[in-house]
Amino acid sequence: MAFPGQPAPGGGFYQGGYGGAPGGPAFPGQAQDPLYGYFAAVAGQDGHIDADELQRCLTQSGIAGAYKPFNLETCRLMISMLDRDMSGTLGFEEFKELWAVVSGWKQHFMSFDRDGSGSVDRQELETALVNMGFRLSPQAVTAITRRFSTHGKITFDDYVACCVKLRALTECFRRRDAAQQGVVNFQYDDVSELVRNQ
């Protein structure tokens, strides 16, 4: 079965699947990569960035465009999405992946935020989720909207946090569904993995 997160017709956003090894060797031309400039400006000696530094980095890069910069909790979530070595930080390769994913989500969000107000309503969020391939019960959509809205509206920041969480949960499920049947057996001991992805 196809999992959500695949590009909608017309594409426009990152479909998931991690490319590149985290923390791999520097590639030729890395110093010329414009993203590297933003990254290096905040990363310390260890070449990694934590949630605070990510927040600064993303704000300075202007990836949010006209939207408000990301709050710290969302940055923390974004790190946990890509933090394969469980260090609580991102290296440059992981940062680049994050950038690509978030850019895709931003394109998608903008297509729903037609009046450019910076937030969408519940209906629009529901449509956005359907377009990303999620088939959720009304109960689940209500829960998601409540969890990720600010005064009844969903801002770009809220939307990114929502996408990160859904993506993490999907990956958690997909890892166990080797046969791609859309059904998985969870053991009690898997509880820690679920908590890790919440």
């Binding site: 409540r146 999907t170 057996n185 969870f186 820690s192 679920l194 908590v195």
Partner: protein
């Protein structure tokens, strides 16, 4: 140990079921934050029936917009960790959801009063596990806490939580708010599994949609 499960059953007895005490000792006399220099307000005169007067006066102080309800934002301002940081949004949201009977995203004075007892129980547990009394819980202390609560969790899991929620240091540790968040999420997931595992076989079979629904409605 309290709540020690029979083999094959679900562990994780924990204090603070909504509106009640738990297996880790009875809620004692209200021992929350210290009353201010002016005392706890009118002695029981204005408190609704069944609500501790100190809890009531604290409720009024926290309900800054005087709506008669406390929101996540108001709650956040009222709760501090041992390092004086305010409780994080996630923990406040989880707690509000737990005591919010109307699913409106905020709690009334009864819910708040129960929430204070809940926090006090968790604070006591936290202090117990914080063996070196540093005000935060580090790796060994967290491992021990999980074991004593009846969970069988890997060291990698504790390590990940500390990396994610602790300060960046060689010995990261977590504050009370994150400790509460983690324990609530563990318990909530356990409960969700238990609910689905009607045959008590120790595993549940879920479709992708059921899985997402289970997680988003209970735990987020």
């Amino acid at each position: 140990a309290p709540g020690a499960p029979p083999p094959g059953a679900y562990p994780g007895a924990y204090p603070g079921a909504p509106y009640g005490g738990g297996p880790y000792g009875q809620p004692g006399p209200y021992g929350g934050p210290q009353p201010g220099p002016y005392g706890g307000g009118a002695p029981g005169g204005n408190a609704p029936p069944g609500v501790d007067p100190e809890a009531f006066s604290w409720f009024q102080a926290v309900d800054t917009d005087h709506s008669g309800y406390i929101s996540v934002k108001e709650l956040k301002q009222a709760l501090v960790n041992s390092n004086w940081s305010t409780f994080n949004d996630e923990t406040c949201m989880l707690m509000i959801n737990m005591f919010d009977k109307t699913r409106s995203g905020r709690i009334d004075v009864y819910g708040f009063s129960a929430l204070l007892r809940f926090i006090q129980q968790w604070r006591s547990l936290f202090q117990q596990y914080d063996r070196d009394q540093s005000g935060s819980i580090s790796f060994n202390e967290l491992q021990q806490a999980f074991t004593q609560m009846g969970y069988n969790l890997s060291p990698q899991f504790s390590q990940l939580l500390l990396a994610r929620y602790g300060q960046r240091s060689s010995n990261p540790s977590i504050q009370l708010d994150r400790f509460i968040q983690i324990c609530m999420q563990l318990q909530s997931t356990t409960d969700a599994f238990r609910e689905k595992d009607t045959g008590l076989v120790g595993n549940v079979r879920l479709s992708y949609e059921d899985f997402l629904t289970m997680v988003v409605t209970r735990m987020m």
